[in-house]
Amino acid sequence: MKASRQPARAPATLGTALATAAHSGDGLTFVRSLQDESSLSWAAIEERAYRCAAGLHLAGVARGDRVALILPTGPDFPLAFFGCVLAGAVPVPLYPPVRLGRLNEYHVATAAMLTAAGARLIISTRRIRSLLGETVARARPPLGCRTVADFDCDPAGAPTPAAPDDLALIQFSSGTTRAPRPVALTHTAIMAQCEAMRPLLRGKDGDTQRGVSWLPLYHDMGLIGSLLGAVAYPGPLTLIPPERFLASPALWLQTIARQRATISPAPPFAFALCARRIRDEEMAGCDLSTWRLAICGAEPIVPAVLERFAERFAPWGFSARALAPAYGLAEASLAVTCTAPDAEPLFAAVDPGRLAVGEAIGPGERPVTAVGAPLPDIRLEIRNADGDPLNDDHCGHIWVQGPTLMREYLDQPEATAAVLRDGWLDTGDLGFRRDGNLFVIGRTKDVVVVRGANHRAAEFEDCLQDLAGVRPGRVVAGGFIPTGADGEELLLLIERSPHAREISAADLIAAVKVRVRERTGIQPGRVVIVEPGTLPRTSSGKLRRAASLDQYHAGTLSQPAKVHGAALAGQFIRSAFAFLRTRLRP
């Protein structure tokens, strides 16, 4: 078994990786609660995925066709995912509706993603399918919406194996614009990502690594980082549905202890949630000393969060050296940098006033977490606004090159050309390097990262357009980390409507919070109401989002000089007098 962990030649496609994993004797375990657990070996997944592939083929799914997967964490997901892969089709995992959540916005967003990905079919569960009527009516996938069971049939005749350069997956990125972008990844890119992570998985004593993950499977960290990583490695992986973790964070740590897991990644908010919510009695009998790699990424990392987690769970054997801050993005498959295993997280304290592109970093008050060095085969440069590389300790744009990069934003050549240049990817993030480590300090793309999920700023701005009291088109959304907070929160700068003076600022703030929560599921961290004309605009009248946020944070956001009727009349009289004086001069 140990020999199989490092194949002589890395598999070239996800299908060949699954075939290798099928011989390992390992597989997936699904945990819904400590009493509710089921297992599925990689061999069984392969066998049933071949049946699913045959059914897909029979139903008219052809090589290269995109198939959307709207599935919860459970056995259906790997069967449908690898069924698509083995049929030569391209899976497109999308998020299922939230229980008790509103559906209107879900239909609009999901239909937009189905259309952008050109999905020909949706695979879902019976329960979720009954809710997707409007989504299906909007996006009209030619082969409709069906369940995994519909495709179970005898795998007669070999399916067409995918070639390494074929597309293997479409995952969505928030990108920089109003619409989410379909990131197209080849088998080569995903397998390169899995290979790049392999050095992190090398145990001290050559033991098999065991994974636990509650991360959603429609998210790069959950899908590529956990599920596909476990297939490529190959090793055992235990999956917990994300909603079970959110409702009961202790289940995550209890499962790690029970499975004697060595690897479990999560965004920083999860570490903060655990430190805050888990009670001592829930940890009774738990031993976390086997957990040697707690990869932490997907959102800005507040150093205090990691310190608090390590301190809180040290009594149960957790070591701070297990924490491995990382950085990545969907356009580069997943991870770009990661802290070496067994190294304590490294922090720097920088001057927040000296973080402009091209500027040298100075010592100061703002704590920043190092996210490690680039993974093998990945190159990283910090560049100035002209695209020239900068030295260590200089702030600039983060550019990345390597075999893990996306092929394109699917069928969007202009959007692709805007970020992929000469084989390099403009990440839209800002940072600096020091002694081989990357530090991420901000971003130029219009994205707000809340609880590990990227949200487009436009998503929040658009939902307020028709709210009474808000000046249409005069809303700016951004992310900010309040002092003492565990992570990034949503900031909204809103110009009040000049025609709704009767609505008080407090009432407007309350209405804004309700609207944003209802429409997006996100609780705004801070809502600021400003007078009409305060937010800076371009000469053509478009809002300048970055400038608005910069001015707010610098405390220089101020309303324009009031131009009342009386002031105008005064100006007129003054100029008339001036005119008269010039005329009366001899």
Partner: protein
């Protein structure tokens, strides 16, 4: 409000104040969206918390028509009755 309704309301209040660290008292007439802690994480926590406590299943299909905490109480009790609990 009968005993069964009060039971569910008490559990909702516990989830809102203890688990989600919300402030203020929940009453059945309050809209979910007006409760500060009922963002997407809050809704999931509420749903799973009620499922665990009352051993019922709340599905995605239950979302339409749920406006107030009173609606949630009614839904939970309907599911309890269906399951004979």
């Amino acid at each position: 409000m009968n005993e069964r309704e009060q039971e569910v309301l008490d559990e909702i209040r516990k989830i809102v104040t203890v688990t989600l660290e919300g402030t203020g008292t929940v009453t059945p007439g309050d809209r979910l969206a007006h409760c500060e802690v009922m963002d997407s994480l809050g809704l999931i926590t509420l749903a799973v918390g009620l499922e665990n406590r009352f051993r019922v299943k709340l599905s995605e299909q239950d979302a339409p028509g749920l406006e107030t905490f009173g609606d949630v109480i009614e839904l939970v009790n309907r599911r309890r009755a269906e399951a004979g609990r």
